[in-house]
């Protein structure tokens, strides 16, 4: 006992331990937040490299570079890495850094578990990526891992299953930590309805995570036993049903989509008021809209599988429920615009990314509404129209919000301002190229190009080439982003505590960078 107390005191007196062990043993929310963010950036670049291989092969009709089975490995692992390795850890990183500060607490509520939930991830992804070097290669059945196809995979299959298990464990631990922190670490006077919206959206996201990650764990475990222990959960020959897997998977999968986007809503709801110099419009309706979206996310899953041959009543129900999501999502967009309305706006990089988010996420929302219409979905389903849709909501949605957050809080985290000119260039190059990349994919899908194919009929050649060119430029501009972040960490103009003229919230009352233990004394909440 005494040693434990001693170590604790030691931390208080001297700040972080020196050297590499600081990062291995740390229980500090900012250190762990940094680890998450760095990890996420590395995964973003790895997943991006796979996207480059995909776009390279699709640059022209014909197969020039890779075998179709390797192409399928690329699309599969690209998605797994981007979803579980880049976007989710990035939001957990933001949560680690910002939640304790935003609610006026000293740290996360469960610091040691926090350390563990991060350090599981590098092992999980090492395991996942190691499958590339195994007989049979990496999983190639799509990130949705539908049986029976996924069961045909090579020796990498069980490694992928266990990697998913580990990611799930990490996510659930992270989510528990978020909930406990929000419920217990708030400064006196910080009532729930006074919490910043980023805290609110993460609070709801954490509940979604706890609800659905175990469902995924169950589904992949059944895959494992189907493959190795002769169960037939998903095999009709033994009384099972391959479509059952899809139902279970999407019962996880649809809330997962909102796990990826709700924190993004939170980020944007922090940034727009700051740069419009005006309070967020409709705070309470934002909270209610987020909650409604979270609730609806549990009852719309089968819109991902309209073509499996559900009964009419089922298709009607899932169509209506899915269309309903447009209402609370619309409320959010209208609230953001009303926040901008009659403000006094400036357009620093975080604001640019936030506005880019609102516009392009809305475009993704429109195509989402189109996909909700079941009879039309019979045409759109599994085409590039869907690819365009989910990249608009995930890249120009989730990823843009992460970029916005990075520029917004980097000065706070590092104490240095990033180079504004570089930031603006990064935004404009990314935004032009990402639209060249994904907008033509709408046309490709409507004209009849299925997704997940390594080669295509020649009438799709032109748009694919545009798309690839956009992809290469977008990829390069993210290398530039890494450079900007690196330069900011290394130095730059000193940031003030307030950083942004219109910034409100507890994080801006601390020094830049903040002290190692955020609020050792509870701040006063007005």
């Amino acid at each position: 006992m005494t040693t434990v107390t001693d170590t604790h005191d030691d931390h208080h007196d001297h700040g972080p331990a020196a050297g590499l062990m600081r990062w291995v043993t740390t229980t500090n929310h900012k250190d762990i937040g940094t680890l998450y963010l760095v990890f996420s950036l590395i995964m973003f670049m790895i997943g991006g490299a796979m996207a480059m291989v995909i776009r390279l092969e699709l640059f022209q009709p014909g197969l020039q570079f890779v075998d179709p089975s390797f192409f399928n490995q690329m699309t599969t692992v690209h998605a797994l890495v981007m979803i579980f390795g880049a976007v989710m850890p990035a939001f957990v990183g933001l949560a680690n850094w910002m939640l304790p500060i935003m609610v006026g607490g000293p740290d996360m509520a469960l610091p040691r578990m926090n350390n563990w939930s991060f350090w599981i991830l590098p092992f999980a992804f090492t395991m996942l990526l190691s499958t590339f070097f195994m007989d049979g290669g990496a999983p190639a059945g799509g990130w949705t891992i539908y049986p029976p196809l996924v069961l045909q995979g090579g020796n990498g299959f069980p490694y992928m299953i266990f990697a998913i298990h580990m990611m799930g464990v990490s996510s659930v631990m992270g989510a528990i930590n978020v909930i406990v922190t929000i419920l217990n670490m708030r400064a006196p006077g910080m009532t729930l309805m006074k919490m910043p919206l980023f805290v609110w959206t993460w609070f709801i996201t954490a509940y979604l995570l706890i609800a659905v990650m175990p469902v995924l764990a169950g589904a992949v475990t059944m895959l494992l036993t189907d493959r190795f222990f002769d169960t037939t959960f998903f095999n009709a020959a033994g009384g099972g049903d391959p479509v059952l897997f899809q139902h279970i998977f999407w019962f996880f999968g649809h809330p997962e989509v909102y796990i990826l986007i709700l924190p993004a809503f939170g980020v944007v709801s922090e940034i727009i008021p700051t740069f419009a110099r005006k309070p967020l419009f409709g705070y309470s309706s934002m909270v209610y809209a987020t909650s409604s979206i979270a609730f609806l996310s549990f009852i719309v899953w089968a819109h991902h599988m309209f073509t499996v041959g559900m009964p009419l009543q089922g298709e009607l129900f899932f169509m209506y429920a899915t269309m309903l999501i447009a209402v609370p999502t619309g409320v959010k967009v209208f609230n953001w615009i009303s926040t901008m309305w009659k403000g006094s706006m400036t357009f620093e990089t975080p604001m640019l990314f936030a506005i880019g988010f609102v516009i392009m996420f809305t475009i993704g929302g429109f195509s989402g509404l189109m996909l909700a219409i079941a009879p039309a979905d019979f045409q759109y389903h599994d085409t590039y129209f869907v690819v365009a849709h989910f990249h608009y909501v995930l890249v120009t949605g989730a990823v843009y919000s992460i970029m916005a957050a990075a520029y917004y809080w980097l000065p706070k985290w590092t104490g240095n301002m990033y180079n504004e000119t570089h930031g603006q260039w990064h935004f404009w190059i990314s935004t032009v190229s990402v639209n060249v990349l994904f907008f033509p994919q709408h046309f490709l899908g409507l004209a009849g190009m299925p997704r997940r194919i390594p080669d295509y009929a020649v009438q799709f050649a032109e748009f694919n080439m545009w798309s690839s060119i956009g992809g290469f430029v977008f990829g390069l501009s993210q290398v530039f982003f890494c450079y900007i972040v690196y330069k900011t960490i290394k130095g730059g103009e000193k940031a003030t505590d307030q950083v942004w003229e219109g910034a409100k919230g507890l994080e801006w009352t601390l020094s830049s960078p903040p002290p190692y233990h955020s609020f050792t004394e509870a701040p006063e909440i007005k």
Binding site: P61, G62, L63, Q64, F65, P68, N72, D135, G137, G141, Q152, G154, G156, A236, D241, P242, V243, R277, K278, P279, F281, G282, S284, S285, T307, V308, G309, L312, M319, Y320, M323, A326, V327, G330, V331, F334, I337, T339, M340, W341, K342, G343, S344, T346, L369, M370, P375, A376, F378, Q379, H381, D382, P450, R452, I453, A457, V458, A461, E462, M465
Partner: protein
């Protein structure tokens, strides 16, 4: 490096040529050739225009705000942050728009589900990576795979320009044929993994699921040739199992059907002759290239860990009866399908003989079509 240069040179050239060469590339969903496809198209255009209209209002307001409410123009921020009226308006109006969209969508969906009173039935089965069409009650059935020209051009490093291949990746050896203006009920299933049958001009796609049968229908108004592809990831050659449907006048269809029946009958009657092992090997090479090569690879080396090699394998060099059994019945729980139904006696005998005496194997024995026939 050379390859890259070639690629970008080709790319530049294609961009210049494309406006001429690919003038017919599509931007929008095809209107199609069925009542259903036209309804779906109308629905698609309705939602599209609704979204465009909402987009104009939303993005218009944002743009106005970004121009006029910027600090550099001296805008002073007002501090309003709540309005119950506004929240109600933008909750209720979108809801009403959604209801308006849901009504036609519901009626189209109900129509699509009604496959009653059909004139004929075709059962479509998806395999890795071909389709099988069975005309129920007509004793006509055949496989349909990617045509030879596309198949040659699509190999990695084939050096055949896809632009020179007619209907590249959208052509098959045997077309599905249906009569015009008849309601054709389509039963969909699969033999191995999930596939999806999609011809855009018909207005829908539907999954083909092993162990289950999906029912749908199509009634085409205009004779013609309509092309589509498998739409559900089904493994390595998912991109290479096209669908071609030829819609004929009723009379032409009757002629076609009679021909098919005749061909099937004469194939059955033909005496089973023994063939020279060398001839078997030659035929076997073709069968191997069409059916086995995707997994077991050109030289029989397989893909370690996923698809076993033929070269030196215990099956292909061991007891011939095991080998015959493996090819005819497949291996449960793996991607190895049974080819009993897919290949003829001659083809089975040929491919087994080829595998035992080529691809680096030298067993020296052969199997004759008659032996295969006896095992059926």
């Amino acid at each position: 490096m050379n390859k890259l240069k070639q690629l970008f040179a080709g790319g530049a050239l294609l961009t210049i040529m494309s406006s001429v060469a690919h003038a017919e590339y599509g931007l929008n969903m095809p209107v199609g050739v069925t009542e259903t496809s036209r309804q779906v198209y109308d629905l698609h255009m309705l939602i599209l225009w609704v979204c465009v209209a909402i987009g104009v209002v939303v993005f218009g307001a944002m743009t106005y705000s970004m121009i006029y409410h910027r600090k550099s123009r001296g805008a002073v921020a007002s501090q309003f942050h709540e309005s119950m009226t506004a929240e109600l308006v933008w909750t209720v109006i979108p809801f009403i728009i959604l209801v308006v969209m849901a009504i036609p969508a519901t009626s189209v969906l109900i129509d699509m589900h009604d496959s009653s009173e059909s004139d004929m039935t075709v059962k479509v089965t998806g395999y890795q990576w071909k389709w099988h069409y069975e005309y129920i009650g007509e004793d006509v059935a055949f496989y349909s795979s990617l045509d030879a020209a596309s198949n040659a051009a699509r190999q990695v490093g084939s050096d055949i320009d896809p632009a020179t291949v007619e209907n590249y990746l959208l052509d098959v050896d045997n077309r599905m044929v249906i009569p015009v203006n008849k309601k054709v009920r389509i039963l969909l299933t699969a033999g191995d993994v999930i596939h999806a049958w999609w011809v855009p001009d018909f207005g829908w796609k539907k999954d083909a699921i092993p162990g289950f049968i999906n029912e749908t229908w199509v009634k085409v108004d205009e004779p013609g040739v309509y092309r589509g592809q498998c739409a559900e990831l089904c493994g390595r050659d998912h991109g290479f199992m096209p669908i071609v449907v030829e819609v004929m006048s009723e009379a032409d269809y009757a002629t076609w059907l009679a021909e098919q029946k005749g061909a099937a009958a004469s194939a059955k009657l033909a005496a089973i002759e023994d063939l020279d092992p060398r001839e078997l090997k030659q035929k076997g090479k073709k069968v191997y290239r069409a059916n086995c090569v995707a997994c077991h690879q050109k030289k029989g080396e397989g893909i370690p860990g996923v698809f076993p090699a033929i070269t030196g394998s215990s099956v292909a060099t061991g007891d011939i009866n095991n080998h015959i059994n493996m090819v005819m019945n497949g291996k449960a729980g793996t991607a190895m399908a049974g080819y009993k139904a897919q290949l003829s006696d001659v083809e089975l005998a040929a491919v087994i003989t080829y595998q035992r005496n080529s691809l680096g194997n030298k067993v020296g024995d052969a199997v004759q079509p008659a032996e295969i026939a006896a095992l059926r």
